[in-house]
Amino acid sequence: MKRPVRPRTTEQWSALGFVTPSVLGLGLFTLFPVGMAVVMSFFQWPMLGTREFVGLDNFRYLLGEDPDFLTALRNTFVFTGLYVPLNILLALGLAFWIHRSRWANLWRVLFFVPAITPMVANAVIWKLLLQAVGGEPNLLADGRTALLAVVAMSVWQGFGYNMIVFSAAVNEMSPSVLEAASLDGATGLRRLVSVQLPLISPALFFAATMTMINALQVFTQPYILTAGGPGNATETLVMNVYQAGFESRDLGLAAAGAWLLFAIILGVTAVQFVGQKRWVHYES
């Protein structure tokens, strides 16, 4: 059946009217800055004063001479390596645990609370809490435990979101598949690993990818809890970018650092997308 004939040019023009605000906004506030950031990363670009083209010097400095960048890189990887699995395990475990509870919605809301409250407030509260219960020196003041404390606070604050994602997926597990599995005698761990987890694997994949992207960009928690310290034990990549740009006022260096972080995010995400074919099952 054909659609009623309408003049195509009218539709074309009204479509342009509808998308123009977003196109202009995204162009001005996203595409243009992205391009600018590329250009800036090849310049020595002080916040005040004259700029000068320096080729790859910013990147060379970050990866070679900068005493902090590689530490920040390492800290960010350690943070991500601990934060993502802990977050997912906790979220998954609780999603299954509350699944059959009559008050499932209450539990979901409760565990979601710190995910919605301001990160700065959460971090301030944890900082004082760790001082109150932590003895001397407290976890945040000790270079060996500070990053772990930042991870703990972040998991506490963040896993409620994934718990809800998983919870929705668990609720939608196909009853017929579960029934068939139980008729086949699959119980307990076996049922979990070979039936239930594959059923929710798209949600797992989504959560793992998004959580990792967010983790690589961690900033507020260490900024408030430790300011990157003691020493630079908890300095992360975004903190490094922030300090380069807005404390040292070297915008070119900050742009270069941000691009390196973006490259890492893209790389890690690409690996996950390639890897998903092995373990993510989409119902057709």
């Binding site: 659609r3 074309q12 600018m36 800036m40 919605i116 301001p118 509260i125 990549l237 973006f262």
Partner: protein, 273 residues
């Protein structure tokens, strides 16, 4: 079987209580008299319940100003996000036009760009606009997100085309179809987008930290709280009272939203946040 249910729930309640302990600690400390945080280890209640702490916060810093700024910035940002997203989502979902798929792909690609890549050049852009240390700088740079367009497009696509055609045959123009037919149907999705956008603006920290110099004039709540913490970090009861005040609006939104939370995150979340 029933006994194990009870045990499971008791355990769950214990876990939830432990989980919420930092917030309970915050509220309890906010109600203690000065200097009693360490006084009696483990005791949550001090020698008096001091509601005055909450009022005192406002005498130390203009917290009402931070709250007002937060509401203004988050409210304006949410309006712009909703308007721009809904308009473009309609074009992507319901209209046929040349360039549609290509532009949509560019929209999706922009969702990959992390904020840190943008903040440095955005700072220069704001300087060029003369927007440094202004409300506009907090609202507009992040108000044109592809995420909202993507989310609403999914929603508009699920609306049967016949509804639109019927309205068009009645002589309604595109804008009328959009306003009278599509927007009312999209109310749940718009609501979810509005709440998450508002909270995103309210909690946002990195960009306001870069952009706002005069916190007491144009600072939002996280900035104000950070400033207060920096200046009065040893006044635990007041810092905790300020933290509780910052948390309260988001908590109220959560309670208002709680029925739709799971469905909202399932749609918003799986659409890619």
């Amino acid at each position: 079987m029933r006994a194990s249910r009870v045990v499971s729930h008791v355990l769950l309640a214990a876990v939830a209580l432990a989980f919420l302990y930092p917030l309970i600690f915050a509220v309890a400390t906010a109600l203690k008299p000065p200097g009693e945080t360490f006084g009696s280890p483990g005791a949550l209640v001090g020698s008096e319940v001091r509601w005055r702490n909450f009022a005192d916060v406002f005498t130390y810093v203009p917290f009402e100003r931070y709250i007002g700024n937060g509401v203004l910035v988050a409210g304006a940002g949410t309006l712009v996000v909703l308007a721009a997203s809904a308009l473009s989502a309609y074009a992507f979902a319901a209209l046929r036009w040349r360039g549609r798929d290509g532009i949509f792909l560019v929209f999706l690609a922009t969702m990959m760009v992390p904020q840190e890549v943008l903040v440095v050049p955005m700072f220069l852009l704001m300087q060029a606009f003369g927007w440094v240390d202004s409300y506009q700088a907090l609202v507009f740079p992040w108000a044109f997100t592809a995420f909202g367009a993507f989310l609403l497009r999914q929603f508009f696509k699920s609306v049967p085309g016949e509804l639109r055609e019927a309205a068009r045959l009645d002589g309604a123009g595109e804008l009328r179809v959009f306003l009278r037919v599509m927007l009312p149907l999209a109310r749940p999705a718009l609501g979810v987008l509005a709440v998450f956008t508002f909270i995103g603006y309210w909690n946002s920290f990195l960009w306001p930290l870069i952009m706002i110099n005069d916190v007491n004039a144009r600072g939002t709540v996280p900035l104000g709280l950070q400033l207060f913490f920096g200046q009065n970090g040893n006044q635990w009861h007041l810092v905790m009272a300020a933290s509780v005040i910052s948390i309260l609006p988001t908590l109220l939104l959560l309670i208002a939203l709680q029925k739709h939370l799971v469905k909202g995150i399932a749609t918003a979340g799986l659409a890619g946040r």
